[in-house]
Symmetry: C3
Subunit: 360 residues, 3 copies
């Protein structure tokens, strides 16, 4: 990988251009704001995109919808109110709004005098995710919904995971794409040495490919559950060495696939990082981790608890380190990142170019 | 009430003029800063008015007094010190101040060399309230003490209640005066429909009058305790419909009275909202709820615990909703209120006109 | 002491010049940043000087060293990493740094392409203190290490104490030097009346001398442990009256010595106040309290628990009051201090003149 590194002068400079950690997520995409299972019929759910309060509503009948989470009257959250048919009624003075955000009732006012309502957001429900389009609604129809990996493929079993992480979403993309951070997971994974096998970039995406060799430690059982087999401690020419990991940021989503030689990947991860607060210093992660079922029935189910434990531990280590990065950025007040890996420099440029407005 | 509503254009605009939530309470009035029972002889009590620290002192003999709660020397709170006779002595180096705020002793300094003291506030104790005049002391003598409703009338029993609420005092006034917020209390009160019966306004006050009819649910026992009788589920022509509720903001205080036909009200509430912090985003509420004793002796006492429970629940619902309003204002950074009820628009103008300086 | 006081006009004015509470500690001195016992071999320790994160490292062999606590790559704390030989390796992607802060290894990069490293701080270990020079490293060799009182003298037993205090370091200096604050400790010490016996000032120091007479209360046992004897309730001419206490700020350190007539002090305190956060509104106190061993062997050891308890109580009272001073300054936004004691005015000038840059 050494050969790919730029000359010394270029390496030591900090990135020019606007501070990546202040680049807002581009709102003109579909973002998951909740898991379907979190949104109960008749119980409004308060969520946020980049500080904007949004209420998700699942009526007793009909599709879910999303509105600004405030009553036009006194600004209290509609999520504190009641679902009535296909409308939501504020819990304070009883103003009601339909799924287009129109005010359809004020109990003490004639129907001809109803005031303005609130903003409605385009909303779709796919594969257990409630997706919202927080940007210009006129663009929603022309922006495709995300491809969610192998989640719909019956040959796979999918784990839905994620939680709020206290950092800008860009740290998440960089964390996953730079596999040299295997060092962070040395206690969970043993001493795995990544080898960069080249990358790719194009309209709206950056991709990196790696192989790995184990130079110490034992293969964790959780990892074995992913591959459906135990692996020996790696020699450079071992079969593990030929497993190819492909990580791709296809703005604003990220995927990670592992192929062991067959066509279909043995692991297919789709992940999105949704800014929560206005400063976009927190993100909520929605991950779909699809594992190809091995030939022996029941084996994957048997190994599943181990896989869950293993991925939780990895995810916790990642969360702790990216939160340290955010804390350092907060203290330093600007991005002191000194990146030496060209793939990550490309990724950073992509996130800057595709991102939205600068945040405070 | 429909008829009273202004035309559409006017209704949808936001209020012009300065942001009501940044209008400071006018300091040139008497404000309760503590209950008498909180202020023990010889134990100084630290309180605040709009961020200004004030120490209340009840000497072993003589009237209570109020000073700036800081030593002129090193600025530590005098409330951390000792009451000695009619003076308070700082606990750090022992500087002492009399009830006029004059420095009367520095243990290591001659009496002829005593430094300047601290500010004293006009202070009165009435009906279990310690009232302070935080504005220009020269005006105190000309500003009347508040009339505290029926608290001194032996025909009434009074509950003293209140706590700190995390919002600007103006939300409190609006909450109480707009009885359409009965919808908020639907679980406590059943389905009560308010009917606006007209209002009044004049020099320093706004008043609104309502009747109510019950269209569902049962009369709560706590409410029965207030009226001294059970009421049937209301029909528009029932006796309950004739009960008249009058709510009045007489700046800076608020009252709510219920009359059932007799001259003396069956319920007489006096309430004040005192800003605590400098930004006036928190207020401490002091309420005197006077209930007319029914003819049967002991009945009110028997029902008192129910009344306490009932009013606490109502107050908690109100507190939660006004704190949501404040949180929305904090997030929105300005007042997006869209008021359709003329009485509340008048009330808002009164609070703006009578209020003090703008706060940050 | 009266005679020493300036005329009234001068006394009532507030200090001119820059706000003392915003004067940063001068970084061109040696500051203790940790106790030796806190820094274990192979376990990096994260500390701060005025907001700057510093990692202290004790290799398995060789002297301790101090670096900026951030990896040059992604800015995460090096203190989260691993000590390897005489280097520290970042826990994220494995970049390693030597004791001079040079980057000596990036696992996925050739040795000829290593990026810039991080700043190293001059560092010494003396008498159980890890001392760091946070200012211009070129000056470190010419600035003497602090003289730590009688800590190295076998005739003394030393207690190492201290903790974080939520105030600017200047409050600590003023607290200790103004012995009129004995009033604060009246519950611990009884009624001790200090008498100012003159002072001294010169290049980089201010000194004050006091005697004391007990006018009430009993001598605490902890105090007796310091003097190695019980004292009667003081009469002005008692022997206690002749004990001389000398308090000296020798920038940036402070000492307090008590002499009972012999040459060597019976008590010899050395203390430093190290700013922790960037605003320097918190300090960590490092104190060395050396007590001269009395002639009877074992007596000091027997009384030691009492001395510990006594000094902890005194220190807690001091901590509470200086944190109140800081809170008052935060609320007032500037220094309203009204000092009447010339020694303290001199001390304040010294701290202002010797201090570093103004902090926010």
């Amino acid at each position: 990988m050494d050969q790919a590194m730029p000359a010394v002068e270029a390496r030591h400079g900090r990135d020019p251009g606007r501070d990546l950690r202040r680049v807002g997520a581009n709102p003109n995409h579909w973002y998951p704001l909740a898991w379907s299972r979190e949104l109960k019929p008749g119980k409004p759910l308060a969520v946020r995109f980049a500080g904007d309060p949004i209420v998700l509503v699942r009526p007793k009948e009909g599709p879910v919808f999303a509105l600004e989470d405030r009553c036009a009257h006194r600004q209290v959250p509609l999520s504190n109110g009641l679902v009535e048919g296909c409308a939501i009624r504020c819990g304070y003075h009883g103003w009601a709004y339909n799924d287009a955000g129109q005010c359809v009732d004020v109990p003490y006012l004639g129907k001809d005098k109803l005031p303005n309502g609130v903003r409605a957001y385009p909303c779709r429900e796919v594969e257990g995710l409630v997706l919202v389009f927080p940007g210009d609604p006129a663009l929603a129809a022309s922006v495709p919904l995300p491809l969610l990996g192998s989640v719909a493929d019956p040959r796979y079993k999918t784990r839905r995971f994620g939680r709020e992480v206290g950092c800008h979403y860009s740290f998440m993309h960089e964390n996953l794409m730079d596999m040299n951070h295997q060092f962070l997971h040395r206690k969970q994974m043993g001493n795995m040495v990544p080898r960069y096998r080249g990358g790719d970039q194009g309209e709206g995406f950056v991709e990196a490919r790696y192989t790995f060799s184990r130079v110490g430690g034992k293969q964790p059982l959780g990892e074995a559950a992913i591959f459906g087999q135990r692996r020996p401690v790696g020699k450079p020419s071992s079969s593990a060495e030929k497993d190819l990991m492909t990580i791709r940021t296809e703005y604003p989503y990220q995927t990670l696939r592992i192929r062991t030689g067959e066509d279909a990947p043995v692991m297919d991860l789709w992940i999105a990082y949704v800014p929560v607060d206005a400063a976009q210093r927190r993100n909520r992660t929605f991950g779909l981790l699809s594992i190809k079922r091995p030939k022996i029935p029941g084996l994957l189910e048997a190994g599943w608890p181990l896989l869950v434990l293993f991925t939780e531990r990895i995810f916790r280590e990642d969360r702790e380190i990216v939160e340290m990065e955010q804390a350092a950025h907060d203290a330093q007040g600007e991005d002191w990142n000194q990146e030496v890996f060209p793939v990550i420099r490309n990724l950073r440029n992509l996130l800057r170019e595709r991102g939205g407005a600068t945040v405070a």
